[in-house]
């Protein structure tokens, strides 16, 4: 994983609450056996009309949303299935952070493993961000702070997740390094 210390971008705003993983990436696109290429199906049923043509009124289809790496969504983002295809689709599309007031557990865990920063902010900050699409925002992982033109907010970032993001450490390597303890546990538990 690429180390990330700071993210700086304009925001794309999707003012929808309770965005579930079936919206982020509908099930019919889960038949892939690789991680790549899911960005074109991100929010497929909202983004495209029945004819496959992008809907001009969908937030991400507006010219101003192009190239934004920070997605600000409504309350409670990422509920539903454990499909890691959801963060894969978001990162393949170009997002590096998702901002909401609450982010579902499995989605948050999956995001952290794919370099997509889940940012949970207070309702006031959230409201300001929703009302100012395209705002220049920076996210500093070292201090777990989101800064926008009118203020800043701290967000919770589990210390180990922060360490992994900042140093580009992957958890698998870390777990493999615990071999002695794992083998000792298996010995105690009688697992061969």
């Amino acid at each position: 994983m690429e180390p990330i210390r700071t993210l700086r971008s304009r925001t794309a705003v999707l003012p929808v609450s309770d965005v579930d993983t079936d919206q982020i990436i509908p099930a019919r696109f889960l038949t892939t056996t690789t991680r790549e290429g899911l960005g074109k199906h991100l929010f497929a049923d909202w983004r495209y009309g029945p004819d496959g043509i992008p809907r001009p009124d969908f937030a991400l289809n507006r010219a101003a949303a192009e190239g934004c790496a920070i997605l600000v969504a409504g309350n409670n983002f990422g509920c539903g299935s454990s499909r890691e295809h959801a963060p894969w689709a978001l990162t393949d599309y170009g997002f590096r952070a998702v901002v909401s007031t609450q982010i579902a557990d499995i989605f948050r865990s999956n995001s952290l493993k794919n370099g997509l920063v889940p940012v949970i902010v207070d309702p006031d900050t959230h409201r300001w961000l929703l009302e100012h699409p395209g705002a220049e925002v920076s996210i500093d992982l070292e201090t777990a702070t989101l800064r926008h033109p009118a203020g800043e907010a701290h967000f919770p970032l589990e210390p180990f997740a922060r360490y992994c993001l900042i140093n580009g450490v992957d958890e698998l390597g870390f777990l493999l390094g615990r071999e002695t303890e794992i083998a000792a546990y298996e010995g105690r538990a009688g697992i061969q």
């Binding site: 079936d22 890691e84 697992i191």
Partner: protein
């Protein structure tokens, strides 16, 4: 020895700590049972190959195929090709991966195959006190046996394959105390839907729920699994129920359950698992089962739920709510009863077990599915299918005009082509009514098997108690 009273969750968690959590690192948690399926495993095996790793404990890993598999008998057993090419590719890839890494696979034609959360308990793989994971959020189902069971992403599937461990922060605990007797026509599905309606779809975030009390103990294992299954719809990491005599009777004699002296030893261990008197939960709520009614969802997430005799709420000035109702084609204040229905689906890891099929059949016996309504009954596993057929339930469904299929996830998520048409209303015993879940533009009403069967008979949203 510590005398601090512990919860069921804490006991299972502690017993699996390879390393306890610290301020700067999560716990390393050992996993006793890893279930895998075709949709969320391919990329994990790719990582193993790239890093030249083996599956650490193949004997603790079991694979099945369920999400994208066909349910039409000719495609499963008749040699007809799987209609969806991408699904066929995933199925082949799982076969190749399991063969290459030495993992036991219940393949398409295996008579023990089924939805991953149905077969774990059914085969006796899921046991009290175990840690169980799967690349699927409804892994919470297995908690009904007193296991700590939760869904993981594909990267974590790779972690467990390679190390049999996961890095986890300890979740908080949440007790839901259910007392009172369930009224006739009201069951486990109605209970969990009303819990989600009460605490909300984010209400359990960061928590492991323990369902407790006489109301829970009165449920059979199938009903307990229905409740734990939908813990994730309340945002919880996992749901658990303390093992008791009902649990032990269910497990006894199952294929992978311990036998003889091992069984006695296991029982001793399992009996020590329930939450100690005086143990503290981070959060608690009480539910009186005797006040529950059949529940049905009206919106686009499972928290948008009302008693079947109720009216759709009014929330003026809430654009998200309005958008959801527009998708569903409902208006605020409208009663949900008598609304026409196009499709009825009985199945899924929520309600695809034998008791569920019995409930649905009890209302359909001697009746017909209303004309113009498609009813699909999909058993949760091949074993459930055989057991249902041995009781003649298949005849009840077929004679009523319903379709009787091979097992799989089917119309729960429509990956295999079992879809609801755009704009159509489906009463479904599954767990998610998200926009497009059962097909682009499909409108899902979640309900119990009894309610679903009643809706099929009348072709309208119907309170099952009217037909009982």
């Amino acid at each position: 020895m510590s005398t601090t009273p512990q919860t069921l969750f804490e006991k299972v968690w502690r017993a699996h700590e390879v390393a306890a959590e610290r301020a700067d690192t999560p716990a390393v948690l050992y996993i006793d049972l890893h279930l895998i399926h075709e949709v969320t495993s391919p990329q994990a095996f790719t990582v193993l190959r790239q890093r030249a790793l083996k599956v650490r404990r193949p004997q603790l890993t079991f694979a099945t195929m369920d999400h994208s598999t066909p349910t039409r008998t000719e495609q499963v057993f008749g040699g007809a090709p799987i209609a969806i090419e991408a699904a066929a590719r995933q199925v082949r890839e799982l076969e190749v991966n399991c063969a290459a890494f030495g993992v036991e696979l219940l393949d398409l034609r295996n008579d023990r195959r089924g939805i991953v959360h149905i077969i774990g308990p059914e085969l006796g793989l899921t046991q009290p006190g175990k840690t169980v994971v799967c690349g699927d959020s409804h892994t919470s189902t297995h908690g009904a046996l007193g296991a700590l069971a939760f869904g993981i992403g594909t990267t974590e599937v790779g972690h467990v394959l390679a190390t049999q461990c996961l890095l986890q922060r300890k979740p908080r605990t949440f007790a839901i105390n259910v007392e009172g007797r369930f009224p006739a026509g009201v069951g486990a599905k109605d209970l969990i839907l009303s819990i989600i309606g009460r605490i909300g779809i984010g209400g359990g975030t960061g928590h492991v729920i323990e369902y407790r009390g006489g109301g829970i103990r009165s449920l059979d294992m199938d009903g307990r699994m229905t409740v734990c299954n939908m813990s994730i719809e309340a945002g919880a990491r996992a749901g658990m129920i303390a093992p008791d005599e009902t649990t032990f009777a269910y497990l006894s004699g199952r294929l992978h359950a311990p036998r003889g002296e091992d069984w006695e030893r296991a029982l001793e261990h399992w009996r020590a698992l329930p939450t100690d008197p005086g143990a503290r939960f981070d959060r608690e709520i009480d539910i009186d089962a005797s006040t529950l009614e059949p529940m049905v969802t009206y919106g686009t997430h499972p928290g948008m739920v009302i008693p079947i005799g109720g009216a759709i709420p009014e929330r003026p000035g809430d654009p998200v709510f309005e958008k959801s109702l527009a998708y569903m084609g409902f208006s605020p204040g409208q009663p949900i009863k008598e609304h026409p229905v196009n499709v009825v689906f009985v199945g899924s890891c929520t309600n695809g077990r034998l008791s569920d099929l019995r409930l649905a059949a009890s209302l359909l016996r001697g009746r017909k599915v209303a004309s113009g309504v498609q009813m699909l009954v999909v058993p949760g596993s091949q074993q459930v299918k055989r057991e249902a057929e041995a009781e003649g339930l298949d005849r009840v469904f077929l004679e009523a005009g319903a379709e009787w299929r091979e097992s799989g996830c089917s119309m729960c998520l429509g990956m295999n082509g079992d879809l609801v048409a755009k704009g159509h209303y489906a009463v479904s015993t599954s767990n998610r009514n998200f926009e497009g879940r059962q097909g682009v533009g499909a409108r899902t009403l979640l309900a119990s098997p009894l309610t679903a069967a009643a809706c099929a008979v009348r072709g309208r949203v119907t309170d099952p108690r009217e037909l009982m």
